[in-house]
Symmetry: C2
Amino acid sequence: MATIYDVARLAGVSPATVSRVFNGTTVTPENERVVREAAGQLDFVPNRTARTLRRRSSDIIALVIPDIENPYFTALARGVEDAARAAGYSVVLCNTDDDIARESDYLEVAVSEHMAGVVIAAASDQSDLSPLLDREKAAVAVDRVPHGASIDAVTVDNAAGAGLATRLLVDRGYRRIACIAGPEDVETSVARVAGWRDVLTASGLPVDHALVEHADYRVEGGSAAMERLLTRAERPDAVFVTNNLMSVGALRALRDAGIHPPEIGIASFGALPFSTSAPTGVSMVSLPARELGAEAARLLLARIGGDRQEPRTIVLEATPIG
Amino acid sequence: MATIYDVARLAGVSPATVSRVFNGTTVTPENERVVREAAGQLDFVPNRTARTLRRRSSDIIALVIPDIENPYFTALARGVEDAARAAGYSVVLCNTDDDIARESDYLEVAVSEHMAGVVIAAASDQSDLSPLLDREKAAVAVDRVPHGASIDAVTVDNAAGAGLATRLLVDRGYRRIACIAGPEDVETSVARVAGWRDVLTASGLPVDHALVEHADYRVEGGSAAMERLLTRAERPDAVFVTNNLMSVGALRALRDAGIHPPEIGIASFGALPFSTSAPTGVSMVSLPARELGAEAARLLLARIGGDRQEPRTIVLEATPIG
DNA sequence: CTTGCGTCTGAAATCGATTTCTGCAACGCT
DNA sequence: AGCGTTGCAGAAATCGATTTCAGACGCAAG
């Protein structure tokens, strides 16, 4: 691979001049011409590793997400990408698979590769962002904020959204409304359960312990949880499911049990991905995933640009559909 | 950020010794102890940029895919990840959004960041892999191989799979079977259309031009194509759809038109993602996405390890379901 | 006591770009 | 003519790790 020195030699100038040509500082038109010509001949591509070492920052942004197979996070990724690319950055995705160890691996990579910044949807409340925060790396939390981290964040109003979803069920006349919650150590799940509970108590409906099932925000977890609910002595007549994938699982469990939605009410936090049938009896609140990503990228770009304000949190709203 | 020199000074040894401690070469147990102690105190993280510059290779693998919102590619990503991580590599995803320019951006990044290797599902037949091939970067094509590229590859037997899907429709008694094809410049689509055509001619069924609609492998493209088919003078009684997302779109178009699947036959190349209803009247062939990714990672790791064989192509089979 | 071998260590070169600092030339102005 | 600008170019330091090379030391064998 040709280096800046090879180009310099062929063009008859110094390496410094070659560097200047590619960095937009002042160079004689004639010199610019010979340098570009030489670079073209040698098929020269600047070595970003060397540049990053010297500049102490690359132009790559890392997006760290817990589940790449969840369409919510991929939509969010599109939002980050669009905003970041428009500003000249490349985005790379890192999938942690809800695993704190993998997450911290990726954070270490991002730090030690001197990436320009990190947008992170944390794997759990126990996620450790100190590798980012201690080194003052530009970083923004999105969707979830680990416990007590002082960091820019873009989140959804989980309690309000959960309330909306639950109310849709209440309004449709269901009385015994269960909840399929996410992991207990994930902030978003805790808030959604709280939103569900508040609406039930405000409506004078029962909130007993047997109505909550915890699962893992995945499809299989959702169906297992629904199966458990169906075996309950006092069976719920409706279920609020706290994320999109578990709703898919829950609906599959119902299908397998031969029960069809208007018979039991379902409300999903997050729209059902790729659904093809009109969701009769399934209520949903939809999340602004892409906007979340775009907003996070904007905050990050500001930080990269030197913004020194106190950390801010932007909260977006969920919107009911159906 | 602490460097190897800071650690060396604190530990009272030379930087070379510090480096050796972190690279497993022979060092006195006592020296190893003081170095680790010093590194811990300073919260030392090796600068991967410097290491990569010197070593001329990092331990990151790039996975370049055309559509991060397609569950097929995210499943494939999981396959790559699992295999690559097991071998000690980190995987970063790059989404090209079917855009050749973005794709070549990412390839340039991968090359000039000296990443260990690249697994690529090309954006189109026109994709230019020369940045990888010219520089002899370890690379494997997956799912799609750009026209005439000499590179290791892992693909699906598209023609055979399409044939299977089409035959499911024929066997169920449909006679006028249309096809919703992908982009004309994507190899997989061409092969799937060919597979469809072959089964029709072998079965003595009509294959007229009006039966093929091209779209973009996305949901909206699929519904638009289905709408066009529905307006045809001689309406098809079944449709073979060449990818999972377009099938979702096609089914939505049918739902909106008030037509329900057994009435018109549907066969999908690739399982419907996140489906919740028993697919009455919808046939599918399912793709081994994860295995594709894992296989590709294995080939790539072999290349990184110095394998110098001629490029190989591994072809996996689609399996009919329903 | 010397020779020889193996193990470990440090000095210094190296990877390839960026950037500071210095120098040179041309120009305008009094 | 003398002097201060201005604009451009090159030499060399720098970023932080790895790795080669040569030297120091210990120990065993002759």
